[in-house]
């Protein structure tokens, strides 16, 4: 296969985005264009990319070596060259496959969801720009090119969160997402720069880095590792930079499904896996990462228990699941983490799309306590949501079970018992809050909705596809007890962190524990919420409902603090001290001029006196000088 096709995987969505954007501007300012054209152009792009990805996948599967394509020198300073280059290895093609696949289904879904929206073309332009950036992130062959995609997805996230930009709240949420992500990017860029100076000069693509990274002293590697992880924290919404993700739900639901659940937020996990050669050398940073992941998982799950907004619950559950992924990659089990990325993409996208369908159906209401009993009215959505909820709760045979269980097992095997405990407890909480959502939304009684909105097929079909995916995605990574070959570990052999052989009985025992814990969560939710009555309005409150007031604290410290500092600088220092100094220097000259001007008193005798004085002193000088 021609490796230049790698570039086309990225270029096609990019061109599509550009064309859509131009057409949209044309459409709103000159002549209206039919939405069908937009739909066609939009959906074509991810599908084409997907097909190219499949071709690469097959070729790699048949034993082809990694594809490398470097069309031109991106930057060359000082004799060091950074190429615009793309790398198609097993990891990146794996990512390409699921990103484009999920992307394609969500495109189809969005065509239904956004139907009739004023910004239809704009939406797909942004969406495809996101696809292009995400694919660039994944396919890049050096950290700098990856960073282009990294920031690109952040930009698209900003644009799509603030899609309905006339509402202040949406734009504020977008800004928050962008700025918090930029804090992460600050870490990323610092890591990048340090890495460039210690190893990058020998070559800055992943191969060269992998070869030479061992030349760097461990202390520096630790700094690089932590700095890069700060970037991942921002993008993948981990403590302490998770605050943007719940607010990001202000965007349209397909955006939440694609960007803030399935793909972009997992970029941090991908990045850590991509730098596995670095993190392998610094297991203490990995451990730190795993703890951050575990605490994020727990913390987000606790918050999710009390939320009422359907999308916010899902957002917190995303943070929680991302925490699991960081446990895995932190402990060196990259392929396990990526396996969870993979399964999570299916069931979380499905959950969001189901939630979107619900929201549309009940007329843009997002509070779960204001809906209920939708089981009868939306049977299809009900069943797919059930699958997805079971999957996230870790009930076999749905996909989430296998990946989550493997993560917990890995944690146990690495003797990280605290992490294991937290993970297990979080699993129970997950089952609880997800079924709370599920029962309240679909089983509650007495919901009086006047009319249900019609769901088009373009929204239903993707649900079915993803429901199928959420059911079977777990089978690619079956544990040893069921199957000899774990397809994911096989494919991502370089990232599996070494095989951990486990006794079959132990493995089954752990599965049993996981299932029991999950079921316990479901039972509690059942008792509490299955017979939930719509008329009995539930009002959540308390510190958990208010997310531990973290947002308020951040706002007070950072936003207010910097605003105060800004005012202090511009008013007190700049105007009050510096400009005053300049102007008083100026005023000093004016005063001097005024004083000298006073000698011109318009009194002839004074002038005459000055004249006398001048002549006398001049004469005196002459007499003394000439003798």
């Amino acid at each position: 296969m021609n490796s230049s096709l790698l570039a086309w995987i990225i270029l096609i969505p990019f061109i599509s985005s550009f064309v859509l954007g131009a057409l949209y501007l044309y459409s709103i300012s000159i002549k209206k264009i039919n939405d069908t054209i937009f739909t066609f152009l939009a959906i074509l792009a991810p599908i084409t990319s997907f097909l190219i990805g499949v071709a690469f996948f097959l070729s790699l599967k048949n034993g082809a070596t990694d594809y490398m394509y470097e069309p031109y020198t991106w930057l060359g300073v000082n004799g060091y060259i950074i190429s615009m280059g793309f790398l198609g290895d097993k990891l990146s093609i794996f990512m390409v496959l699921f990103v484009t696949f999920i992307g394609s289904t969500i495109h189809v879904y969005a065509a239904g969801y956004m139907k009739g929206d004023e910004g239809y073309g704009k939406f797909f332009s942004y969406f495809n720009l996101f696809m292009a950036s995400m694919l660039l992130l994944v396919l890049a062959n050096s950290p700098i090119i990856m960073f282009i995609g990294w920031e690109g997805v952040g930009l698209c996230s900003y644009l799509l969160i603030g899609f309905y930009f006339t509402e202040p709240l949406n734009v504020v949420a977008g800004n928050k997402a962008f700025i918090v992500n930029r804090v992460g990017d600050l870490g990323f860029i610092i890591g990048l720069v340090i890495m460039f100076f210690y190893v990058g000069k020998l070559g800055f693509d992943y191969y060269a880095l992998e070869d030479y990274i061992s030349l760097v002293p461990t202390s520096i590697l630790t700094i690089i590792g932590i700095a890069l992880f700060v970037g991942a924290m921002g993008k993948s919404a981990q403590i302490p930079l998770y605050v943007w993700l719940p607010d990001a739900m202000a965007g349209p639901t397909p955006v939440s499904a694609l960007i803030h659940a399935a793909t972009m937020v997992t970029a941090g996990v991908y990045m850590v896996a991509r730098f596995h050669f670095l993190y392998d050398l610094i297991p203490h940073v990995g451990e730190f990462m795993a703890y951050i992941g575990a605490f994020s998982a727990l913390f987000a799950a606790i918050i999710a228990m009390r939320q009422t907004d359907i999308k916010k619950i899902l957002a917190y559950s995303t943070i929680s699941q991302l925490g699991y992924m960081f446990i895995a990659v932190g402990l060196g089990a990259y392929s396990t983490g990526l396996f969870h990325v993979f399964t999570h993409a299916f069931f979380k996208a499905l959950l969001f799309m189901g939630a979107g369908a619900v929201i549309i159906a009940v007329g843009h209401e997002q509070n779960i306590f204001k809906m209920g009993g939708l089981r009868k009215k939306l049977p299809l959505v009900y069943s797919v949501m059930l699958i997805a909820t079971l999957a996230i709760s870790g009930i076999p045979p749905f996909s989430g079970f296998f990946s989550k269980d493997e993560i917990l097992l890995k944690a146990y095997r690495h003797h990280e018992y605290l992490i294991y405990g937290i993970g297990l407890f979080t699993a129970a909480l997950t089952a609880y809050y997800m079924f709370r959502l599920f029962f309240v939304t679909f089983h509650g009684k007495n919901y009086k909705q006047k009319e249900m909105h019609y769901l088009s097929w373009s929204m239903k079909a993707p649900l079915l596809v993803l429901a199928f995916g959420a059911t079977v995605a777990g089978f690619v990574g079956l544990p040893e007890v069921f199957s000899q070959t774990n397809l994911i570990d096989e494919w991502l052999k370089a990232y599996s962190g070494g095989a951990l052989h486990v006794e079959h009985t132990t493995e089954i025992m752990f599965m049993g524990i996981s299932v029991v814990v999950g079921l316990a969560g479901i039972v509690v939710a059942y008792v509490k919420y299955f017979k939930y009555d719509f008329n009995k309005e539930i009002q959540e409150s308390g510190i958990v409902y208010n997310k531990f007031y973290i947002d308020e604290v951040y706002h007070f410290i950072f936003v207010r603090g910097i605003q105060k500092l800004s005012r202090f600088i511009s008013v007190d220092v700049d105007d009050g001290v510096i400009d005053k100094a300049v102007m008083s220097l100026c005023g000093g000259f004016i005063n001097m001029g005024r004083r000298i001007g006073r000698m011109q008193c318009a009194n002839t005798r004074v002038y005459a006196f000055f004249m006398l004085l001048g002549i006398s002193s001049f004469s005196l000088y002459l007499i003394l000088k000439l003798g």
Binding site: I590, G593, C601, A602, T604, R605
Partner: protein
């Protein structure tokens, strides 16, 4: 005794010149000022004539004659100017003619 008389001539000139300067500085009446200036001119003339005599050269006397001639023509212009100024302000006080003074400073 040429030395003694030389010193007394010069002293006279200095005295006259000083009187002229004092008049110039201290008086307000334009006529008095004019007369003080003339006095100074004449003091200079005395010096010219004295030095001419002293050095035995006629140059000083010629210059003294020229100064007197110029002073005469100057007097004509000066007096006519004073008349014009008097017509304007009805005053011969020099302090009334400070029209070029800046009224208000910056």
């Amino acid at each position: 005794m040429i030395e003694a008389s030389f010193i007394s001539y010069i002293s006279l000139a200095i005295l006259l010149f000083s009187i002229g300067i004092m008049g110039l500085i201290s008086r307000k009446n334009i006529f008095i000022i004019y007369m003080s200036i003339e006095l100074m001119l004449n003091a200079i003339n005395i010096i010219f004539v004295t030095l001419s005599k002293y050095f035995g050269s006629m140059d000083g006397q010629i210059i003294a004659m020229m100064v007197m001639a110029i002073a005469a023509s100057e007097a004509a212009i000066f007096l006519s100017l004073i008349v014009a100024m008097y017509r304007l302000k009805h005053s011969v006080n020099i302090d009334d003619f400070n029209t070029l003074k800046q009224k208000d400073t910056l």
